[in-house]
Subunit: 359 residues, 2 copies
């Protein structure tokens, strides 16, 4: 029997993926050369649809990585000579800081308490910081750094590059692109696509920083040096033979989202998050992991389970519904429910009903 996936990535496929996959097969796109006009047209459509969907200004370029992990590595290699600053509010933001350390950078870490965000007022001014890493939506714990904090950080660090981890929140979040220099997401989250593709957005400040580092003789990588990716991207190509299918599907689903309207998708997300957070409010076993409503993720809803995660997950499995366990050390004490656009209102309502039946 068909299962309903509410897992925080890989997650439920966007309803049109099946159709687009069949189209890609029947049109031979998966056999076409990645240097052909046919591929460039795919790349262009994906770029155009994404740019419109995200309201991305012209001074930003859209590049393709193999994962968000790769975006972390390329950011460190290409935009940091010595010092980066990381707002850590969970396992994934921590991993970005670890990648900076792996490349021998001085990675300054400000850690939030569990289920909270970093208080940006406590972050000290530091002229030497070259890159500030903010995780908008921490997939591991469902905590969301308020967008107002980006403004505060920009004021405090006028010259640093700011990059935003929106792995599990784009295109739901409307990022303040005038205040940031880079952002990235993975396609297996809010876009409901098969995993294996990351999208890395950079503005001219990032490009100039990479040039500056290279002029100093600093190693910025090889085939995926930012400048190499940027140059090929301007010609609607990738350096390597890319995940053509992933790029194709992303463009098509972004197009479908445009047809539906990003406003409506965002409104539905708020509604569905409400169904989960308020609909499960009186559940005897559950309470939201993030106490403060203002920093609760709209797209990855995380609940404390008082050690009952496994039982809840198994009960739901019997009803053909798959939700995520807690991440890392929270495995037995959290459940994580993806609230991505692929999942309809009725499905989230049904899930909340079924969870409420588990006592």
């Amino acid at each position: 029997m068909h299962q309903l996936y509410f897992t925080p990535g890989p997650s439920a496929l966007y309803p049109t993926v099946n159709l687009h996959l069949k189209d890609a097969l029947s049109k031979g796109y998966l056999s076409a050369s990645h240097r052909s006009a046919a591929f460039k047209d795919i790349y262009k459509e994906t770029e155009n649809n994404l740019r419109t969907l995200l309201s991305l200004p012209d001074n930003f370029s859209i590049l393709f990585t193999s994962s968000a992990n790769e975006a972390w590595e390329r950011l460190i290699q290409n935009t940091v000579e010595n010092k980066s600053l990381h707002l850590v509010n969970g396992a994934f933001s921590k991993r970005f800081a670890d990648i900076a350390s792996a490349y021998n950078k001085d990675a300054i870490v400000y850690s939030a308490k569990e289920g909270e965000v970093v208080h940006v007022d406590e972050i000290k001014e530091d002229q030497e910081v070259e890159l500030i890493a903010i995780t908008h939506n921490e997939t591991s714990t469902g905590v969301s750094q308020p967008l107002e904090d980006i403004k505060k950080l920009r004021n405090k660090f006028p010259d640093a590059l700011i990059t935003v981890d929106a792995v599990s929140s784009l295109p739901i979040v409307d990022l303040p692109y005038d205040l940031i220099d880079s952002a990235y997401f993975s396609v297996q989250k809010c876009f409901g696509l098969p995993a294996g593709l990351g999208v890395w957005i950079v503005n001219q400040n990032c490009i100039e920083k990479a040039e500056k580092l290279e002029n100093k003789g600093i190693i910025t990588g090889s085939y995926h040096r930012l400048l190499a990716m940027y140059k090929k991207g301007k010609d609607f190509q990738n350096v390597e033979t890319p995940n053509v299918l992933g790029i194709y599907l992303l463009g098509k689903v972004a197009g479908d989202m445009l047809t539906k309207g990003i406003g409506q998708i965002r409104n539905e997300t708020i509604y569905k998050a409400g169904v989960l957070y308020y609909g499960l409010q009186t559940h005897p076993l559950l309470n939201p992991f993030v106490n403060d409503e203002k920093i609760r993720s709209q797209t990855v809803c995380v609940f404390n389970t008082n050690g009952e995660s496994e039982r809840i997950i198994n009960e739901l499995k019997k009803k053909h519904m798959v939700i995520g366990s807690g991440y890392g050390s929270f495995k037995s004490n959290h459940i994580r429910i993806a609230n991505f656009p692929a999942t309809g209102k009725e499905q989230i309502e049904m899930l909340a009903d079924k969870i409420n039946e588990i006592q």
Copy 2:
């Protein structure tokens, strides 16, 4: 109308890909967590089928990269402190050497004349060489380094690691795994799969070398440090959320190839290459780019066209057959025809007939 692809990658899809794709969709594999037992089973099946298909000894591990480009970069980062040696017989082997240079390594290059291979007898002994890069099958020019040369290099460099680029020749080539330490290929070539996945094979010597470099404090990368990939791979997982679909399809197609028999697939490849090289022998416009039959690729057949590439390609397009142009500076003077397992004997025979009609 349906097109027949004879392009050297991305190429024609293996005939069973369509079916496996539908299965993956209907079974929900694309939504399953990359930490789930379901995913580990996929990983195990792919690893087992590949190991059997390639007759890969137990001291080799199978790792997944996003591309062959990534395998180049990770090899340089993880197995070379100072010096690598590259046998360059075309654009792709050259690019590997460039990646070594990008990481400030001393990349010794031995270049072959166009359409020839490097004469290994001319390569000087050098105790300092840590990694020798051999390209078995140069996709850009269709020249193939004889396997006997690996033995000679092993004798001359008993302590160096040897890595073999078999991007467009595995699983057709039966590599001498007792003489080498690493090999890699891309799935969009001989396996006839959608692009976006590389397979990197390493033995314990590579692992030990990476450990040695890390103990010296040398940067070996971050999320895709060889040791991190190796550790996760032993648990049938990837560090990042991987191209699950690619790994799934690779395992299934490797299984189909096992069912057919690798011996038969290799015999058919030789037969089909013969149809092209001998069937086009008297063509007034064409002659094989590689003069010496012993070093002609069986899987990527390249012909001089006396400047008529575009016309030949366009004539074939009218008959719904797509072949590759020459690579780089050879664009107008070569055609490249993929002779991968996805393409049947009848299709290659028909292609040769149609090319012979173009005068």
